[in-house]
Amino acid sequence: MRRSLNINPVPGAAAAEALPRIVAFVEEMAELDDWAPDLVLRSNLILEELILNTLTHGRTSGLSDIEITLESGVNSVTITVVDDGAAFDPLNDKPSPDTELPLQERSIGGLGLHLVRTMAEDLEYKHADGKNHLTLVARAGA
């Protein structure tokens, strides 16, 4: 099954307000297509990190729409996120944090996108028609 959800950010609203809608959307798809529990958790994590990154890092200028599309596969789901905010390549524009640093030197910056890049497969980004297009695949039990 293939379904889409549109998030239309309200200026000034807390970014996290979008989260319950994303979780509900993922869980609805998961129930309809009988996803494995770890696929649900991974899809939720990937979407939370991507959408909160878009909504919280000063990229909301000109952003009016984020469209999330989920398409169920065999033990996998293809996730597509298209937004009309400022151009940003989540695969390359933000370096991964050094995950080897000792405790007191660690910071959290970049960890969300690092999680996405590591957990997802077949990641593709392009900027076209004035929009960011990101496609990736989450797989169960990988």
Binding site: A16, L103, L115
Partner: protein
């Protein structure tokens, strides 16, 4: 987000339950900070009731671990669900925070 707590001769065992995501990580941080006392001799966070944690929740764990590390208070987490363990490994958090398989192991070994 619920958070149970039990103190036994200086060992503070904190057991949160539910999801930790960007919508409640500030509450999680506040509850954890309030549950930890300066005179705790060691702190164990039993994560057995958490099946989902995002980078927003990891940030809270990092801040708590750094605070306890700064005061040389032994700190560990235990009983990670497979999904949480995966997030810990990808983030390298298993190298900066002590992880035990069970609460009993944590109580017996954390020093």
């Amino acid at each position: 987000m619920e958070l149970a707590q039990e103190r036994d001769s200086g060992t503070n065992v904190i057991s949160p339950a539910g999801r930790v995501d960007g919508s409640n990580s500030a509450d999680f941080h506040e509850a954890l900070a309030a549950a930890i006392a300066d005179d705790d001799s060691r702190v164990i966070l039993d994560m057995g009731g958490i099946d989902y944690i995002s980078s927003a929740g990891l940030r809270v764990l990092l801040l708590v671990a750094q605070r306890l590390g700064g005061s040389s208070t032994p700190f560990a987490v235990c009983s990670l669900a497979a999904s949480v363990d995966e997030v810990f490994r990808i983030s390298g958090f298993n190298q900066i925070i002590t992880v035990y398989g069970t609460l009993d192991e944590a109580k017996a070994q954390l020093a």
